[in-house]
Amino acid sequence: MSKTPLVAVLLIFIGFFFFPYFYSVASGQLGKPVPELEKPKGDHCIEDAKWMEENHMVLLKEWRDHVIRQGIRTYISDTYGTAYNISTYTCFECHTSKANFCDKCHDYTGVKPNCWDCHVYPELLEKYR
């Protein structure tokens, strides 16, 4: 029996499997550096900046559960001891733009959070003004 069909199927599979890689190479996106984010206002984030970079989604998820399930509206920062109002808009008080902050990294990593289908962000406010 000829091995040709098997090899052809294997080649097609490899072609599909590595398509994202070839696509990135062809469009010149491979090895693109991490995007430069807009400098936020204020001197520190809610928690340590490095921690926030890695775990902001955990914090937001816990904020959600505490507000909706238990009615807890205040969060006291573990790192800085400052009290924060629990709201997605609290972030935008310092990070004044979603497009120049959140979206840049999310686009880079291919993450599509659906927070902003419902929650209000500065650009949306501009649109309604």
Binding site: E54, R64, Q70, G71, Y75, C118, V120, Y128
Partner: protein, 245 residues
């Protein structure tokens, strides 16, 4: 190399725990209060039309409720109905004309025994300890079981993306998305700030809101002194919305 990676992960995990322990206590002890509302229909119907309309409109404004052009897509938390359809079991023949023609504002009854929460497959709607039946839109999958279970029809479904139909956005409140159910929440976000629900504030005293557990509260006194009716009491859902006629 592997050891240090594991150490980093455990460090992050314990950090997460520490940070998550940093929530402050809630503003209101939900275990102690039980919110309820009384609507004085006579007083409400004596208000001029513009003021009655304001009660419904203020809710739409602060909760970013869309106004759809088609009636089929309608999303509302509080709206006017008539006596016959609000109280089908109390509707007799030969009622006085002023009762038959009453404008009855209807909203979620925040039942003591809510059928909507029992059918929710994801726990997206539930009764809080303070008696408010509320929604977690993050969890709602849009199955509409709750709408089928509610004997009062007080829930609305977002058939379309509501954002383009919101006339004026309230930046302090969220909007909803296509495919979730929504309803009145007794303005939990206002209660946390010590305010009354928006409709109560706009009603010029014809809506009375308060703690049913506190015998000295205005609402308890009014309920003790007046004869009140509730919607479909025979179903055993125990609404916490009382009407005075």
């Amino acid at each position: 190399m592997t050891g240090s990676a594991i150490a980093t992960i455990t460090l992050t995990a314990s950090q997460v725990e520490r940070v998550l322990a940093a929530f402050a206590a809630p503003a209101i002890d939900q275990q102690k209060v039980r919110w309820g509302m009384v609507i004085d229909l006579k007083k409400f119907n004596e208000l001029p039309l513009a003021k009655r309309k304001r009660v419904y409109d203020v809710c739409k404004e602060i909760h970013n409720i869309p106004i759809f052009p088609t009636a089929k897509d309608r999303v509302e938390w509080i709206w006017p109905a008539d006596f016959e359809h609000t109280f089908p079991s109390q509707f007799n023949h030969f009622l006085p004309e002023e009762i038959e023609n009453l404008e009855v504002p209807v909203l979620c009854n925040h039942c003591e025994n809510p059928p909507c929460t029992k059918v929710c497959p994801t726990g997206a709607t539930w009764k809080r300890d303070d008696g408010i039946v509320t929604m977690d839109y993050h969890r709602c999958i849009g199955c509409r079981y709750c709408m089928a279970a509610c004997p009062y029809g007080m829930r609305s479904f977002n058939w379309r993306d509501p954002r383009p139909f919101i006339p004026k956005l309230n930046p302090t409140y969220h909007t909803r998305t296509k495919g979730v159910v929504e309803k009145c929440t007794f303005c939990v976000e206002r209660l946390e700030k010590g305010l009354q629900p928006a409709c109560v504030e706009a009603s010029e005293g014809s809506f009375i809101f308060g703690d049913l557990n506190n015998l000295e509260s205005e609402i308890s006194k009014i309920l003790r002194e007046h004869y009140s009716i509730r919607r479909k009491p025979e179903l055993g859902t125990e609404p916490k919305l009382y009407y005075l006629i």
